[in-house]
Symmetry: D2
Subunit: 347 residues, 4 copies
């Protein structure tokens, strides 16, 4: 166990105590396996309610890479690819999982982790108008993460525009919501789960980074994508034998707004920390108001902070400065944030 205080990511602790309590309380109950138990059913029902649509298909998987690859492979034929920001998790940090299933990730330039409806339209129209289109991968899905890997979020207007362009060209819109909670409660957010469920063909609600031990809840709105999805889950290794562990966790998170409440805590602490960086005049790599703070610091200051705190190193900006990431989460203790702020003030 590190003696330093960890701010490098949002999965350094276990689960919210209410989740552990329920695991404890139900431990010796007998249930059927593979997600066909009452807890999964109950959790799915609560998520459908929260999304305002009783027809949504809801499935529970273990982790994000697994979820991305399962959703994408279930949607695409082998000659079809998925458009995403070059910084998209599937393009950078999943060891080529999407390609290992045969699909090309079609990266679009992006400074802030987001892509626009105009970019999607240009990519698709460019494809179909190219004389060699059959020699090229056909774009068929749009992958966005919200919040993005850079902590930015999509506005409702932006998501509507993306949804419309996808509808227009028969593309599937898929939102990776590994940190969805932190986006939904961000001060500048105007999207709701209901909006997302209406505008996306498929998305997932992240548990691993928002209060659960592990788990991601896939929500499928498009009928075409619902068919035989459990075959894909099994094949990609995501069908947990004791599926109820996933059901129990999401059932708890979607009881009495727990998912939102714990997300708010993380955002409040991020805002506090952000204020400290701003006060010192450190520029952001990309500004955002979710739980990830990407800030550019002089290397000497970073070294100083690094004596007591762990952060995530992003990249060298110039000879004397680096971009780094500090995260808060549902589990972050205010005393630790205060300690970090104190250290920042002394820089």
């Amino acid at each position: 166990m590190s003696k330093k205080i960890l701010f490098q990511c949002d999965y350094t602790e276990g689960a919210h105590p209410k989740i552990l309590e329920r695991l404890f309380a139900t431990n010796m109950e007998q249930t059927r396996g593979y997600g066909e138990d009452i807890y999964c059913m109950s959790a799915a029902e609560k998520i459908r309610d929260a999304c305002g649509n009783p027809d949504l298909a809801v499935h529970f998987l273990v982790g994000g890479t697994q979820t991305n690859v399962t959703v994408i492979d279930s949607a695409l034929r082998s000659y079809q690819g998925v458009l995403c920001a070059v910084s998209g998790h599937i393009n950078v940090h999943e060891t080529g999982a999407v390609e290992s299933c045969g699909h090309k990730v079609l990266g679009l330039p992006s400074e802030d982790g987001k892509i626009t409806a105009a970019q999607v339209e240009a990519a698709y129209v460019g494809h179909i108008n190219d004389g060699s289109f059959e020699h090229m991968v056909q774009p068929k899905m749009v992958y966005i993460s919200n919040p993005t890997e850079l902590g930015t979020i999509y506005s409702k207007a932006e998501l509507i525009a993306l949804s419309e362009v996808c509808q227009k060209y028969g593309l599937y819109l898929f939102m990776d919501g590994a940190r969805l909670g932190y986006g939904l409660v961000a001060p500048d957010n105007d999207l709701t789960l209901v909006d997302i469920a209406r505008l996306c063909d498929v998305f997932y609600i992240g548990g691993t980074k928002v209060g659960a031990l592990f788990g991601e809840a896939v929500v499928i709105a498009n009928e075409e994508l619902k068919k035989d999805f459990r075959y894909f889950i099994k094949q990609k290794g995501g069908m947990l034998a004791k599926g109820r562990l996933l059901g129990l966790q999401f059932d708890t998170l979607f009881t009495e707004n727990l998912y939102y409440e714990i997300s708010k805590g993380a955002i409040a602490l991020a805002e506090k920390l952000r204020a400290a960086f701003e006060e010192k005049g450190y520029p952001y790599l990309v500004p955002n108001r979710t739980n990830q703070i990407f800030v550019i610091l002089p290397d000497a200051d970073l070294e100083k902070l690094g004596e007591q705190f762990e952060y995530s190193y992003d990249h060298r900006v110039d000879e004397g400065h680096s971009a780094v990431r500090f995260c808060t989460s549902w589990a972050t203790r205010e005393e630790n944030v205060d300690a970090l702020i104190a250290c920042i003030k002394e820089l």
Copy 2:
């Protein structure tokens, strides 16, 4: 929650209480992610000790299908295949996960779930002597499960023979140990973890079915298979963000022989149940002494048992009889076994 008592599989409950206690106790500790924490290190060390070889590589994955596909894809090139019993889990019950990674499963006939060194030799020699060998999938790995999907186990002599033939022809020997605990403590077993670690190139120790919430510990002995294994884990979606959950569980299971102790409990109850079936003269589909009982029952009797108990239906044997499976596990309560036995006696 079903009112019936469940005997259909060995993953109907949660985890051994000692595991839950440690999850509780360590919940708010901060650790690095992805299996690079002190609990994973400690668990790996204990497993290396139990296997009697300090050079083994040990990795922790979430589930069995994921583990099989990760190990097999890490060992094979695209034109190479894996020999296994036609009844092997990878051949039947993983929705083609191995094929989805590009490798053919080369099924060998088997009545009892096991394959022999002679079968492996014949398959390999047949391949290299075939004039069209480059037109055929090259056998490169041998997959065995121990206990098998039919509950049978390999003797030490059988495993030595398999290991020798694999060495002779440059094949990798891989043991799926999803139920390994139940095999190692079976009354007729003469294999030890040390034997297995010496005779196999790679194997895994099942946690999901033997006391853990989830988790399989991959043990790699062959240097060729150690290289870059973590890339494969990540790509196949098996790298748990909060990897310590896996480390903690295996650390607990390999403390004070817990893994063996809880396995023994399951076997004792299986033996008791087995005696009841034998007393009534029901024949076995395949006899074994591990935690899965495959027995052939008249349909009328099955219906009677089915009123109170769930079992796993295997296949119809003849017009009036079916083969079914009853499982015990570390979590099985003796009172439930007694209730089932009482019901059997009344048949």
Copy 3:
């Protein structure tokens, strides 16, 4: 160049002279690439005519393995598999090409290279009724070869039965016609191209073994399989730059019945050779009346024949006998068959 006379396969010579002549005559003409030239259009039109259906999609690929994998991958999602005889070319002699695209080949037992409607129905119904069906590969296509790898052919009644069961369960019926010409003119055949085009969802007409330098013509009847097929051809490496070479060959083969005429020649010589074997009382491995003769010979006799002739060794039948294959083709010279018969008579 071997001094022996080759009977081991049906691709030992080049192309029918009429094909070479047209390649010569058109050599310096300029055409667009990738199959979008007038020769491909003309050939496709002639094949549609021969099949009696103006709505068929026709594509030209280079070789059989490539064709099989392109058709199968275009039809299946990753969790779906293809039923075929264990002896099917895709199951045995394509180095796992189908698996390398992610699909499991689901082998069905067969003595004569054929599978029955009843087998297909049992496999499909068994799948959907299995409690673990989502853990298993879903059968979605039926692959048959006609003639089979053992030279046998399907009767019209058999093909109708297969087609009906495929229709009933939503399976695609795919016929590998690498040697189709030799089947269509066999003495015991009652199928026509029109029947095949009506009963199969997709099939191909083999050129490589029936008069062409190379080339297979894929004929797609099912609308679902027509969409975006050229993307698959390109991705699998089958889109020949100078596509007209394929068009020219099939245009020639389907002019003035050339395809049938040259097939008849091969069959006539096979029948003559067959009579010689029968006269000596050699048993068949499997009887058939197409261009492949599978006969069981004493090893001593084989050695004798092997001094002057090459055949294809199939397998050892017993201590003193082996099953071997002799092939005729469009290119077989009668004088060579006579020489072989003379040698047989002397055995």
Copy 4:
């Protein structure tokens, strides 16, 4: 057959007459299949001679996409990727063939179709120094085309630098030589086949675009890549039944310098055409001296040229101008070039 004169690509005609003559002359000879005939052996020997290394493995495949995917899949494990220019054929125009085999193409920025040793080093060093390297695709191969898709060529110094950086980091250097002949005889070229065979781990000599009906000769220098290569050829559908067709063509091309002689003719005509464009002051998209001319023309002039000639449209440069490609080849007639030049002069 188009009435226009085609300049859009270098595969609009058939084969060099000497090749057709040999196909004709050998047509009814009997040979073994799958590349194990005397013509393939002879051609391989001539290529080894031309490359100055008797230990090279030489294989003959049908087309370029097939060749690229076979070579790349034979070299990489599933978590490894191939570095290449963003404009590389494998990244743009092969319908994701490399990804369909599970490997990510790692695009590097490039204006002229080339990549540098410095880019490769930065990509590899960046990977291994990244804290999340196991979450990213590992670069293992460098793909270059020479000439590139933009007609540019690598100098000897550039290739040496690439080779050295590949050696340093254990990367395979693979050259796609689909148009190699046109590069080797370009006025500004200083590379020889001997250099290439010494500096690359594997490369191929293009036939399809340089005098053959079809065919690419893969030359493997690195021992690691030689093993079991024919299995890969078969699995990827590239093992031509009548393999001698490939052997015959390359044997002819590598007899009496035919490959170079016909390439020179194409270059002479390209230079003549280039002069005409230059005289009019049209700028190049990228200057080069091989057989592809990428020139930027006013749309009105393009329309005029388009009445008699076909070219390849590349992209819109600005409101009134487009970049287009004109190609010459071994088959281009001087009278056609003269007609085009006359038309250019009139613009």
